[in-house]
């Protein structure tokens, strides 16, 4: 038990270390901007005074880090009054800074859109499960038959078709030709269908393959033979016994994929003008060179991704006691 706690603490320390590095990297990303952010925002015609004001307002007049590098003197200590520490100080107080464009707190802008993206990701996950479970079981129980091969083919197709190809095709069929859904927007409840299918397609393909190989593996186990020998119907064997055990690795993939969905949502949101975090990042952030907003969005998406992955890991270990902390 003591060993287990120690391992858990070590795992947790690693998580903190990774989060710290990711936040630091994102914080320093702004240093990559060619030229300086003030000119990028206000244009070449801004007066030096305007630029100085802007830099002061957003703390950009301070040094970037604890030390800076100059060609002649090498590394020079610049003191604790720097942007890196400022960003961290804000962060622990729940402040992601103010937008370069609108002066609104970045956190508020992100929170307005966050739920919308999570909703889309969860809907995509539901779509994926609804497709993958029956298809995967069908393929696994009919191994190496035509059904299996064609479902494998469909799955690979789903993995290979990028969202930005599936999305517009779905729009073409269901919005342009059939007129069932509106092509973009998130005003009506049914507007989520096309984006969710688009985002969930690749995941459903991955899941189908997982469920298939899981089912095949479990069907070879002794307990299945016992269940069959008891006279259980094949249906009961598959759905009550095989699927229950076979779903453990699938749950892991689901958790890990939640993060992937969050990142993939960026493209889907652009296709369907879905007012989520991705669109905020692309249009208001990158499109308007609002670097503070870009920082905030990248940070929130990354941290959500990391937390989703770590949580999955915990659930997985809890579900399957055979797996020890490594």
């Amino acid at each position: 038990m003591k060993h287990k706690t120690l391992n858990f603490l070590r795992q947790f320390a690693l998580l903190l270390l990774v989060v710290w590095t990711v936040v630091s990297l994102v914080t320093l990303l702004i240093e990559l901007v060619p030229g300086d952010p003030a000119t990028a925002i206000m244009g070449e015609n801004a007066t030096p005074e305007q630029i100085a004001n802007f830099n002061e307002k957003h703390g950009l007049d301070k040094p970037a880090f604890f030390f800076s590098y100059t060609g002649e003197k090498g590394f020079v200590w610049t003191g604790a009054n720097n942007r890196y520490l400022d960003y961290w100080t804000g962060l622990v107080q729940g402040d992601l800074g103010k937008s370069f464009r609108t002066d609104r707190p970045v956190l508020d802008m992100i929170l307005e859109r966050y739920a919308s993206t999570i909703k889309l990701a969860l809907a995509a996950m539901l779509v994926a499960i609804a497709i993958a479970l029956p298809l995967g079981v069908l393929a696994g129980t009919n191994k190496n038959t035509l059904i299996d091969n064609s479902s494998s083919f469909v799955a690979l197709l789903g993995i290979s078709l990028p969202t930005f190809v599936i999305g517009p095709f779905l729009v073409y069929i269901f919005a342009v030709k059939l007129g069932w859904f509106s092509p973009t927007g998130s005003a009506n409840p049914e507007d989520i269908v096309l984006p969710a299918v688009t985002l969930g397609a690749a995941l459903s393909a991955i899941l189908t393959r997982m469920v298939r190989s899981s089912v095949i593996e479990e069907l070879g186990e002794d307990y299945v033979r016992t269940a069959r020998a008891k006279g259980l119907s094949e249906r009961k064997v598959v759905y009550k016994h095989v699927l229950k055990n076979g779903l453990i690795p699938v749950v892991t993939i689901l958790g890990l994929q939640l993060g992937v969905l969050l990142a993939g949502a960026i493209i889907t949101e652009k296709i369907f003008s879905w007012q989520g975090l991705g669109l905020l990042l692309l249009e208001d952030g990158i499109g308007k060179r609002d670097y503070r907003l870009v920082q905030g969005c990248v940070l929130v998406i990354s941290v959500t991704y990391i937390l989703a992955n770590s949580l999955t890991d915990l659930v997985y270990r809890w579900l399957d006691p055979r797996i020890k902390f490594s």
């Binding site: 690693l14 994102v26 083919f153 197709l157 930005f164 517009p168 073409y172 990158i286 990354s302």
Partner: protein, 271 residues
Amino acid sequence: MNRLTYIGIAIAALFILTAIFASFIATDDVTAQNLAMRYASPSAAHWFGTDALGRDVFSRVVFGARISLQVGIIVVVVSTIIGTLIGAVAGFYGGWVDKILSGYIFNVFLAFPGLLLAIALVAFLGAGLGKLILALCIIGWVGYARVMRGQVLKVREYDFVQAARALGASNSRILLTHILPNAIQPLIVQASLGMAGAVLSEASLSFLGLGIPPPAPSWGTMIEEGRGFDILYNAPHVLLFPGIAIALTVLAFNFIGDGLREYLDPKQRKR
């Protein structure tokens, strides 16, 4: 190898040949505009029709293959070299070197969703071919490093490696002549899947307007230009052909990677 692998190889070969001989295959100049011929449907003169500026879609798809595969190959080669080196060092030396590399650095890079990291890098660095390739290499190397590390950990315990060590072979000799050749198979699988990933990422970033700037005929850019409601209604071919091209390319490399993995792993072959 299964049939799908051969299909994958055939499609990939077709696209590679198209990319190499693009200037002979293309029927028109890819940037030549003809506003009188906007959104023309596919015909004998324009096999895949024309786009919003009257440019020949067929020629653009053909030259798009060159961009995609060029980016894909550079990214895969650079990522493989960097990843293999780092992975080999981590696996071979073990100890605290491995703890820092695989326990910490790998985890940091895996902690970012790949596409998001690429978007962030390009957003701050600015768009362009070189920066795009740089961003894709930064997100790509860690996959190879993990594969290589795992292989090295496995192979370095084999008797022939121990024998080489006993004979006084240097570390670099052991790594290069004994371990690397035995680790190459999973690396080829990874490279094949990585090729699919790189092509996809390039197209994704170009689709988002963060990749190769127009008028270069990147498939992602072409899809972005063809997805408006009116264009879809009147001229779906603008979107259809680059869409098929990218799907086929990614599918081909996935088929190859998948087939090779199954072929090289006897455990999976039996299933």
